[in-house]
Symmetry: C4
């Protein structure tokens, strides 16, 4: 497969993944964006900015280098969140795709400026521990380099908490909303689906049992490692 | 394009926009109404009153002058909320379309008689600040000129708070529900979609963090001006 | 039109109305039932008991006299709630159709044993005042004549509160769920739709404003009489 | 019908029941699993592990003996929860099918580590009393024999509370989620639907009336025995 074919397939996957967001009920209007990276070719493919999902086509997907520079003539403008994706791809070398949504239940926690506690096995199956929430950005960060700083504060959060981005493939940006990622675009979208579901579960769990605590570490381990790592025994591989 | 063609197109847009309301889950039954104004021709096109969405046709849309007088023979009766639309068009000269719904989450805030605080960027992308709630109408206003007074109390709210109707294209009428508007009918409907979504987010944000405060002014500025005004850089234009 | 044709049309309307219940999201499985009365012919048509909505046919609708006695050979067994319908038709002479559902939000209030307060105009457009909740049934009422006693406690509630069944075409049976009715089957189903919607609104209204009170009487009057009675000016008639 | 045909029909029923779970909104992705037992033949048919519902086929269903040993060549790997099903079939001899989901509202109660109180007749129609929640598993149970211990703690819960598995065909596993069962696969899936619905109702019932208590025993009896046992009079049989 030549480079052109590889890029065409990336565009098709990114296009299809973007359409999944409204179909899964994760976004309204043109909110949300999905990108995929090919580290060998040094390119990122991302959704164009503000194009209606009704009229968007595969060829509208935007191709950039790893710094976010446009690589194709007559390219549409990329998602305004591209600089956030660029930073995450740079500092999280294991990830292959990124999804940003404004899914209702995850945003509720982001606006509350709280991490989502690991209250159950649904959470533990995908996220190895609480899903963290970043600190607020400063005025300078917001006014001078907003989207880049958004990526940086995510990286800072993972570094300070010593989190592995693939073990916890999601974050809440304070006052804003969720980013998720994964080894590939399918996983990254699934992680957005799971995140919103566990956010919805956690809210009412607290309402029903205000003193509830997160699940035991050994239950967290059990469920996470049933599905991930060398000794995984979930699925067909 | 002659006037007849212009009016026909307005009817088609207003008809289609009304059908969007149940399709987007914003209303039940025949609740809700959409209108569009053409200030050059001095006409308003609005949904007829109480006609089932299943049988409603383009030709049923009602054409009035800027005072709300019917302009076509054999016209159906216009939405009973027409006088509210007339007042808003008169006092908000920049708006081109109005939408009224009883969408669940916005109504919940209207019934609670509370403005929706700007708790996050989803809100800030569309509404530059809190979405205000009017005062209650007086008995005299309600009994003597209810629909007109509804428009006037909206205008009063925006004047007292020095709000720009296009910077905050939505209001909650106390004990009643939301009105949204926009430069055109597409935007006005989108604003109803966004309003209900941010209302739903805000409720649970408060539940999760009872002491949460609205987002910083500079984050509000950043998100609003990413999408609006001269320096906007969201979308393709 | 002869009696046979009238009954056939009743069966078609009742059949179609029953299918609306799951389509409107008001029920799961085979919960819920709809009936219609023809007082001239002295008959009631009601859904059969426990027949799956996937296989149910028009001819399965059950025809009874005004005491609930089966009138057709090879009739299926009627809804087990038929005796409740019989009592309501007997004591509420103005109603022409009855709907019983287990719609989630109305049931939440019924289980909380609380009337739904008239918190806004969405409520007032259909229900002239709070939607009442019955007292609990006694052990004797439940064990000896449960379904009949359910109808009687509804009638008792309306009599004690001096409510007009057409002005408040809904009730919550304590610990159980809602019944709605109307002049005809279309209205009765619509009233179930509205009831669940206003129940959902009211819950969060209280959450957002714990001290909120019901809307002013003059606003209640205004909205109710916009749509009902001699001076109504909503709709096309 | 020979054994091969019986097994083929079991596979078809189990396949179809698994697809119902996402269609009923009970699960996301590949969460959840359904199995059916034939005690005469000594076999269990269960969903394969982690196969996408989009590509899963009838022939992918996994056949095991009553200890969970694979019986067919080239079998896919069974659901990782198979050992839980094996224990439940062994200790609950009256049940014919089992369903496990991560349905949102039931999980909220499981994560809150609370039984779902019988707050109304919707609950009583299917569950004769509160739906119990197990104790937490110990570290040893989780690390050494997780799925088997999950089955055992369910059995322990029913034994300690002296519950009849067919009178209360559901349980919440603490910190995890619901299992339901029934005489056959249709009933078992329906019980998952009802469980999530009553979980959703119960949460808001408590919010609306924090001091609410479960319904009277005689109302519980009435509704349960309307549908179950010798004197049932709901449905056509």
């Amino acid at each position: 497969m030549n480079n052109e074919q590889i890029i065409q397939q990336m565009k098709e996957r990114v296009f299809k993944a973007n359409l999944q967001l409204p179909n899964e009920g994760l976004i309204k209007l043109t909110w949300g964006n999905v990108s995929e990276i090919n580290r060998d070719l040094g390119i990122i493919v991302i959704k164009p900015s503000g194009v209606s999902y009704d009229t968007m086509q595969v060829k509208d997907m935007v191709v950039t280098d790893l710094q976010g520079n446009l690589l194709e003539p007559d390219s549409l403008r990329p998602s305004s969140d591209l600089p956030t994706h660029v930073v995450l791809y740079r500092d999280f070398p294991a990830i292959g795709a990124i999804v940003h949504t404004h899914s209702v239940h995850a945003v509720q926690w982001a606006q509350a400026k709280r991490a989502i506690p690991a209250y159950g096995t649904t959470h533990a199956d995908t996220f190895y521990g609480n899903v963290p929430c970043t600190r607020d950005l400063t005025e300078e960060e917001i006014t001078k380099r907003y989207e880049e700083a958004t990526g940086e504060v995510i990286v800072e959060t993972f570094r300070e908490k010593a989190l592995d981005p693939l073990a916890c493939p999601a974050v809440l940006v304070s006052g804003h909303g969720p980013f998720t990622w994964g080894e590939n675009v399918t996983k990254a979208v699934q992680n957005s689906v799971v995140l919103d579901e566990v956010a919805k579960m956690a809210t009412v769990t607290e309402q029903l049992s205000p003193k509830v605590t997160r699940i035991d570490q050994f239950l967290l381990d059990k469920h996470y490692y049933r599905k991930h790592g060398e000794n995984a025994y979930y699925g067909q591989n």
